[in-house]
Amino acid sequence: MSAATNTSSFDITETYLKFLENDPEITMPVAAIEALVTMLRIKQPSTSSELINLLSDSTNQLKKSVPNAISLSAGCDLFTRFVLRNTHLYSDWESCRKHLVENGQLFLQRAKESREMIAKVGYNFVKDDDVVLVHSYSRVVLNLLHYAKTKFIRFRVFVTEARPDVTGKNGVKMANALKELGIPACLIHDSQVGYVINKVDKVFMGAEGVSESGGIINHVGSYQIGVLAKNANKPLYVVSESHKFVRMFPLAPDDLPIASTDALTFNTDKEIGLSSDLRIDFTPHEYITALISDLGVLTPSAVSEELIKMWYD
């Protein structure tokens, strides 16, 4: 964390990306919050209104610079909410700022531990001799399955390839990671899910963001798997930390506020190949059986209750 002492050269996006690089275990919202806390420590705003302005400027900058900003905005909004609630608790500005920075650290600590908590809560969902289906690469799901393995539960995993993907964090990486942990895995194409769904006992999925209705925003292909699972009467469990709950309420996959791409246009030009730009989609809450989070196991309707409590004025 080689933070620049010269405040003018402090770049929030750079700091954020550095955090992501340095710690492979970190999630995007947590990295965002770390960057914001660092910014607070360095820039040292002298009044609360300056603080709030600084925060909103930085969050806007961050959201613009990163292409897939949903879980990022969840983290930023959470931190902003936390700051706004606590600024008026202290009369002395210095102690207020110290308190914010300390609590920021505490929050980060809790967020890092949340994956462990989720594993402890969720491993019971994996029973002996289960066949589990997972979609794309998710560290939380990986952690949960690893914990289940250490509790001597024997199970097998189907992993979807999860195309299209350019970040390298797709099904191939997940399958390799599982095999390294000694969990028998089978890598399948996304189109083979329908064939395989009847052999599967349950589906586990991570999430980039959990919307207010309890639906999830995740790697493209999640919606398809959700519909197939519901049709085959297989439970779908979403595994996600609570800081990914975002104040969004999409009604359909095309209602997501991502930068609209030129994908999905029709033309007669043979040069244009696959529409690989569409990388996330939205799964409505009726396809999700339960949400395993560090707050416990929630039904999709409990998500909005948690969000309301968090944002309660």
Partner: protein, 307 residues
């Protein structure tokens, strides 16, 4: 409405005993004004902000009856945000509330209005690719059900059937902690005579009226020109007789069932409200944000301390 009365009673009970009656009245008046501002006027504005994101250029929107909040929303989107869109207004007997909405919205530029009765709802949904269905509320019950004008449930169900998202705009003051499982348990009855004696737009049909007008015009011409041919006159007279008979019979139709009270086994039912189950509603937009219908009791719980 129960919420408002309860709030007022609470305010009254909170007035200190030493305060004089006049002072108390002044303070109460101020409180009531503030209440109206906050809970009703401001809430309407905030709901408009939240909901306007759904209405894009060239959207097609379905709505039922007349709702103040929705009217504000549509006007805001058309005038302030300069979006042009189409609205399908569905209406029903005997109140014909949709007429009011249609009248107000048709004078707004950028809005194209279509007006239908609920009897033609399935045809409307079949032919036009509607994007959203916006509904107003009388109240939201604790089990996520929408208590609104009779006919709302039908519109919501048909929309859900066609995969059209149903959005309800409702201020949080309308949230009630009642639980009701069906529309019959608690409802209001309107005047039964309204169902019988509603006059349609014309006593005679549109084509018939035009024909009659033409006849009148021809008659005037004949009278002005010198000497009409007798044969023509006779033809016209026999036609006129037929028309008079038609008029008489349509008048008689109006009088059918106006003596319904004389028939002991006939009951006319005019219910005013119905209940829409939560599975037909996608999203409820209130001034505290958008929520799924299952979260209504959460809002009541969290915000009860404020009211």
């Amino acid at each position: 409405m129960g919420n408002a009365i309860r709030w007022l009673k609470q305010k009254i009970s909170q007035i200190p005993i030493e305060m004089s009656d006049d002072d108390a009245k002044v303070q109460l008046n101020e409180d009531i004004d503030l209440f109206i501002q906050e809970k009703i006027l401001y809430s309407g504005k905030v709901i408009t902000q939240f909901a306007s994101g759904h209405i894009q250029n060239n959207s097609k929107i379905l709505t039922y009856g007349h709702s103040e909040v929705l009217k504000k929303l549509f006007k805001y989107c058309a005038i302030e945000e300069n979006k042009s869109f189409e609205i399908y207004i569905v209406d029903s007997k005997p109140l014909f509330e949709g007429k009011k909405l249609a009248k107000e919205l048709s004078s707004v530029k950028n809005i194209k209005c279509h007006y239908n009765l609920i009897t033609s709802l399935s045809s409307v949904l079949e032919r036009s690719s509607i994007d959203f269905c916006f509904l107003g509320a009388n109240s939201m019950l604790s089990n996520g059900r929408l208590y609104s004008r009779v006919g709302t449930a039908l519109v919501a169900m048909s929309s859900k059937n066609k995969n059209i998202p149903v959005l309800v705009c409702c201020e949080s003051i309308k949230f009630s902690d009642k639980v009701q499982l069906d529309s019959v348990t608690l409802n209001e009855l309107g005047d039964a005579d309204d169902m019988i004696n509603t006059k349609p737009f014309n006593k005679t049909g549109f084509n018939l009226q035009q024909y009659l007008n033409k006849l009148e015009a021809k008659k005037l011409e004949e009278q002005n020109s010198t000497g009409g041919k007798k044969g023509q006159q006779q033809q016209q007279q026999s036609k006129k007789e037929k028309d008079d008979k038609l008029l008489q019979s349509s008048q008689k139709n109006e009088e059918t069932l106006s003596n319904w009270k004389d028939y002991p086994s006939l009951n006319i039912l005019n219910v005013l409200y119905d209940l829409t189950p939560p599975e037909y509603i996608q999203k409820i937009i209130t001034e505290v944000g958008a929520l799924p219908p299952s979260s209504v009791p959460v809002i009541l719980r969290e915000y009860k301390s404020i009211t």
